[in-house]
Amino acid sequence: MAVYYGCDIPEDYYFDLDRDVWVRFEGDLAVLGMTDVAQTRGGKLVNLTFKKPGKVIAQGKNVVTVESAKWVGPFPMPFSGEVVETNEAGFKRDILLLNKDPYGAGWLVKVRPTHLDAEHGHLLTGAAAVEAYKKKIDELQVKCFRCVDESGN
């Protein structure tokens, strides 16, 4: 895993750079989440509002509304798809999941892509993703940080 200014960039994930979304393909499904950069910029979350499973959402449209105390943002679909599962229950247990583990336990939604062939051209992975993110981190002058459990877990 590449790390740049404290920001993790897992090379085996796919990234929609402009929307700050990561994608992990699992068979014909895709798991989506916010990147380390996005969670850092958003800050400590206070609320998430998920679209219901079964809902088909177009590329670029909002699938989760993510809120911190001073910020409310859309989490956009990197490609069109049907919501199959959300991590709502996980966030009910711990609202800081995303701030602690954005690429793992802090995943947001699992979707079934509907037009992936036509809508995957912008996704970056591996070294190309790392290079693009490094540039973005430089431009934003962001330094990533995470929340941790007080116990240190």
């Binding site: 449209k61 509304t65 809120e67 105390a69 001073k70 409310v72 943002g73």
Partner: protein, 361 residues
């Protein structure tokens, strides 16, 4: 897209609750973010529309006697009694970031308000052009204006409303008429409190509204504070808004002047209800021609100078439908004006209604 800035400034003085969005609009620079202000007044007041004539619409004596301040906004629409039962939702955006058509702009602006009401169990819907209804009852209107370089759209989250005082502050021809207005308001208006039987928590509703804005616009929103410059411009405006000169004139850019009546000159007035609002036409007629004309009312007509331009265009025209219509058509052709719910025939009807009126004494 860049985040929308949210200025959630809570309760402020009645004057500030109107001046703040004008101030943020006038202070807008190319790098100012699109802004949404959430604000309410600490105390009640009366607010009149940009194109209205104060003394024709508001019982000024009653307001003075009861310590109710009156302010004129730079946005069209009607006279309204306001208090802390409403949270104003004021959008101050850059022109390219809103639809150019006013109808589409209202549709966009109203969507998060309607969605917020629905979230709290109030089955609201958009009633075009720019109203919000709940089962046939109005839960607030909206207005639009260009202020400085900014495009402004205003409306409110209607927690509660004082129907009695709303009916009381309006200028009416008789107390019987006032009773009718009160009954109509009661029958055809509603609020969250009325509909739900309780008042939802203000902070929770405001937060949901911003969520719905993010959902509708697909843009993040960031809470912030006004800049010192925006506050300074707002304070300057407050001095103007508090002046009688501003309050009593009809529309900021026009001077109607004194009207003297001679033997072959008379003054007549008529009101005409168009789908986009009431139009009052007051004309000085000289040998059958329009010598001077004033148009006022609760309609929306953008840009701000357009009403003055239309009044000017109709001067010297014979008071007959065909020449009046020709001038109005020319006005719409020559200027990029928008007047939702008010078309050429509405202006013609409003002006021609003068013909049937007896001269004013």
């Amino acid at each position: 897209m860049d985040p929308i800035r949210v200025l959630d400034i809570g309760l402020v003085s009645p004057l500030r609750s109107q001046a703040i969005y004008h101030g943020v609009a006038y202070a807008m620079k190319p790098d100012t973010p699109d802004t949404i202000i959430l604000v309410g007044p600490t105390d009640p007041y009366v607010c009149i529309g940009y194109h209205q004539e104060l003394e024709k619409e508001v019982d000024v004596d009653y307001c003075r006697a009861h310590g109710l301040p009156i302010f004129r906004r730079e946005v069209g629409g009607g006279a309204v009694y306001l208090d802390k039962g409403q949270v104003f939702t004021q959008w101050i955006f850059h022109r390219p970031n809103l639809p150019a058509s006013l109808e589409e702009r209202f549709t966009l602006y109203i969507k998060p308000l309607v969605d917020t009401y629905q979230r709290f169990g109030v089955p609201a819907n958009h009633r075009p052009i720019n109203d919000i209804h709940v089962q046939g009852k109005k839960i607030g209107g909206t207005g639009a204006a260009q202020i400085g370089e900014a495009e402004v759209v205003v409306g409110s989250l209607m927690f509660d409303f004082n129907f009695d005082l709303m009916a009381r502050v309006l200028k009416v021809s008789s107390e019987k008429m006032r009773d009718k207005i009160f009954q109509s308001l009661n029958e055809y208006m509603t609020t969250m409190t009325r509909h739900l039987g309780h008042t939802p928590d203000y902070e929770t509703v405001k937060r949901e509204y911003i969520r719905q804005v993010v959902e509708t616009l697909g843009r993040p929103a960031e809470y912030a504070d006004p800049t010192p410059e925006e506050i300074a411009v707002t304070e300057e405006l407050e001095a103007r808004f508090a002046s009688d000169e501003w309050l009593y004139q009809k529309g900021g850019l026009r001077q109607t002047g004194a009207v003297k009546i001679h033997a072959d000159v008379y003054l007549a007035e008529a009101a005409y209800k168009s789908p986009g609002g009431l139009i009052r036409a007051t004309a000085r007629l000289l040998e059958g021609r329009i010598d001077d004309l004033t148009l006022s009312g609760d309609f929306t007509l953008l840009p701000a100078f357009a009403v003055g331009a239309l009044e000017q265009a109709l001067r010297g025209v014979t008071l007959d439908a065909a020449p009046v219509r020709a001038k109005v058509i020319e006005f719409y052709r020559n200027l990029p004006v928008q007047s939702p719910g008010v078309g050429v025939e509405d202006w013609v009807n409003a002006v021609m209604a003068i013909k049937g009126q007896a001269p004013l004494q």
